[in-house]
Symmetry: C2
């Protein structure tokens, strides 16, 4: 019994987004949203997304805290060639690891830029902590790295996404979280009470209700049931469907688990 | 001298986004990005954005931690009528405040829904901690609230934005952060070294470099200088402009501080 409970457990994760441009409102963050979808697919429970500035002490403290709390940490941003790219040094410092230009990373950059274009600034991108494993960058070649449970990746969305796709197969996940949702033109306040009862009847299913407005159709909400147990999820979805039928509400979009 | 330094200091802030739907990748968060822009405009330094699940203990711990660290905390999400809306109770619990249906909030909901439609679920939205000040909701009327330095707001973007606009005048800011940016078709690695020197010459200005790719035009980057000191910023921008001229790089878009 205990063993199957342990197998059921999803590994936990946090995403640490590093960059002043997010906090100033200049850039809308999208990497966390992309990775959140991938983690859900492979059965990793994302427990926190945190955006922090390009400040070494702040990065060190956050890496230590989240690395101790979670099975996986993923960082985005701050590994380019400019002076504000301090993530690699901060992650090394968080674990007391030595960092310097590493031959394997330098070779990748030499192959890509050629010796004549590999200036001092670009060579900064070959600074990798001792003991870290490289993460391949098929877009612009400067690698990310994995140190302990921390996965250090680029902030440029195209590069971040390519790095995640490369990592995907190597990340151990638990049972994936499945979801079943109903979008309907009923206001949140009208389904709240019966939904609370349905929630109480299905301890292994969690429910979320997300209101929306449409110019045509008016206010409505999407009811989402989530679970790692397909049979429990199906039973819960049936109860929600019966509730909406009882209330004589037409379901506009039903999205079943894939 | 000391006084002007204190006046110069920007108040600090954190945004706490509450909702399983963000962490599952279902919903792309946009409220933090909106509020980040407003805070920059009014001279409040946003130091962290944190997204967490609909879990009471997690919310309580995050509210306590961020409220102690920052001048302002802003929360988004979890104040609707359904069973997963637990933010108000969690924020009250974080400060040991009593919470219940409050007459002032109930009156607002009665006026809006009418007594016949104010069911038990909707009445949950009148649960406001003792001592909290209400935040007006011109969209769907259920109010947010301010308890100590924590501003509790709705997650629905239209409502969140309306609440922020209503609060804006009441938030004390410091000197606003101004920015001056140059978008040019030059790769990051080519400006990194000279920019490090410019950065060293302007201690009150921070610089960020953000690479991009365009199908036409190829790779380029945007160099952003930020400061609360207009004269220092202008001097720094002049140095960046001179650097780009020296490198014979045409500036595609220059955005001067407003």
């Amino acid at each position: 019994m205990t063993e199957s409970v342990i197998e059921d457990r999803q590994p936990t994760a946090a995403i640490l987004v590093i960059g002043d441009e997010i906090l100033s409102g200049r850039t809308q963050e999208g990497n966390a949203h992309f990775l959140a979808g991938v983690l859900t697919e492979i059965g990793v429970a994302l427990r926190q997304i945190r955006c922090i500035p390009d400040d070494k002490d702040t990065i060190i403290a956050a890496v230590r805290e989240l690395s101790a709390q979670m099975d996986y940490v993923f960082t985005s941003g701050g590994i380019g060639p400019t002076h504000d790219d301090i993530t690699a040094d901060a992650v090394a410092a968080a674990f007391g690891a030595r960092i310097g230009v590493r031959d394997d990373a330098k070779r990748i950059l030499l192959d890509y830029y050629g010796p004549e274009n590999l200036n001092e600034a670009r060579l900064r991108m070959a600074r990798i902590p001792d003991g870290a494993e490289l993460i391949r960058n098929p877009v612009s070649h400067a690698p990310g790295f994995i140190l302990r449970n921390v996965h250090v990746m680029a902030g440029v969305p195209k590069i971040f996404q390519a790095m995640v796709e490369g990592l995907r197969g190597a990340l151990a996940g638990g049972k994936p979280t499945l979801s079943h949702s109903f979008q309907a033109y009923i206001v949140e306040g009208a389904v709240a009470a019966p939904l609370r009862e349905i929630d109480a009847r299905h301890p292994d299913v969690s429910f979320g209700v997300y209101p929306y407005y449409r110019l045509e159709g008016g206010p409505g909400c999407t009811i989402v049931a989530r679970s790692t147990h397909p049979a429990d999820l199906a039973a819960a979805a049936q109860d929600v469907k019966a509730l909406l039928d009882d209330l004589d509400v037409r379901v506009v979009i039903e999205t079943k688990p894939r």
